[in-house]
């Protein structure tokens, strides 16, 4: 069980390339998903805090 998992991680010797590609993808996609939501919360808070017209 662990043997095949280790092989899976090893990726036939290409581990660095394959996992870097997937990690980079995950990082970029995650960042792009999180940043706008934070910005939206920030904006809404700023708008709510403004004095009413």
């Amino acid at each position: 069980m662990t043997e095949s998992f280790r092989e899976f991680l090893h990726m036939g010797g290409y581990a660095f390339y394959v996992w870097s590609a997937y990690a980079l993808t995950a990082a970029v996609l995650a960042a792009n998903a999180i940043v706008p939501r934070m910005r939206e919360r920030q904006l809404l808070r700023a708008l709510a805090a403004e004095p009413p017209r």
Partner: protein, 247 residues
């Protein structure tokens, strides 16, 4: 006409904001499921390629990213046209929101392409692969679009200028791709370095399609969120924005 009524209804910023808020999570969760399925298929179920071994698995993050980079540019230009012709603020917001996402996909296509190329050709970058070169030009097109939008201070004027840039870019993309293809094939040096698509078997293709759908759902979800933010920023002073914030 019912369709035009719908068009104008969703063209109103507060309506779009509400719809986007409802739809985004759906796309998000469906996308997450598709990602899980695609990764399972691509990383585990698909057999290793007889030529490239396990390295070919990079295809599952490289190809969808490349397809999306192009798809998003078309979306961006299309939204730009709609905003330009029908003067729809929502379309302008969608166009502006899509650009960073498209640039991110392009960056990923290039980076994963590089990571794929290194074990295959021994070099991080080659000047002989038409698709990578075209992808790089696309990245510069995105950069230029975002630069123009940032340079014009009035949001509406920025959207219009951006739309023209996007349209000119869109028309040029096939021409650029053809010229790069022509250049790299007819003037190739002795060493041929191109992405040779592995012989596609169904077990290899299926995860690719699933991953592409996953990326599409991801784009839909994040684009909707970003468009909401753009609309809020555009309409800061409006009543509906305050209402949304106060709630």
């Amino acid at each position: 006409m019912a369709i035009l009524d719908r068009f104008h209804k969703y063209g109103s910023p507060p309506q779009f904001y509400a719809t986007a808020k409802t739809l985004a999570p759906w796309f998000g969760w469906i996308g997450a499921l598709l990602f899980a399925a695609g990764l399972a298929g691509g990383l585990a179920l698909a057999p290793p390629d007889y030529q490239q071994g396990e390295a070919f698995r990079i295809i599952y993050v490289h190809v969808p990213a490349a397809w999306m980079s192009l798809f998003v540019y078309v979306t961006m230009a299309g939204a730009g046209v709609v905003g330009l012709v029908w003067k729809m603020k929502v379309a302008d917001a969608v166009a502006r929101a899509s650009a960073p996402l498209g640039a991110a996909f392009t960056f990923l296509a290039l980076a994963t392409g590089s990571l794929w190329g290194r074990p295959m050709w021994g070099a991080w970058w080659v000047w002989g692969d038409a698709r990578l070169l075209s992808e790089l030009v696309l990245f510069f097109l995105y950069a230029g679009y975002m630069a123009v939008q940032a340079a014009v201070e009035d949001r509406r004027a920025a959207a219009r200028a951006g739309a023209v840039v996007a349209i000119v870019g869109l028309v040029n993309i096939p021409i650029i791709h053809y010229s790069v293809e022509w250049w790299t094939t007819l003037h190739q040096g002795p060493s041929v370095t191109r992405f040779d698509a592995p012989a596609i078997h169904w077990s290899m293709l299926a995860p690719l399609l699933v991953m592409t759908l996953a990326y599409m759902c991801y784009f839909a979800a994040v684009m909707l969120v970003r468009s909401r933010v753009e609309l809020l920023e555009l309409e800061r002073r409006s009543a509906w924005a305050r209402e949304v914030a106060g709630r």
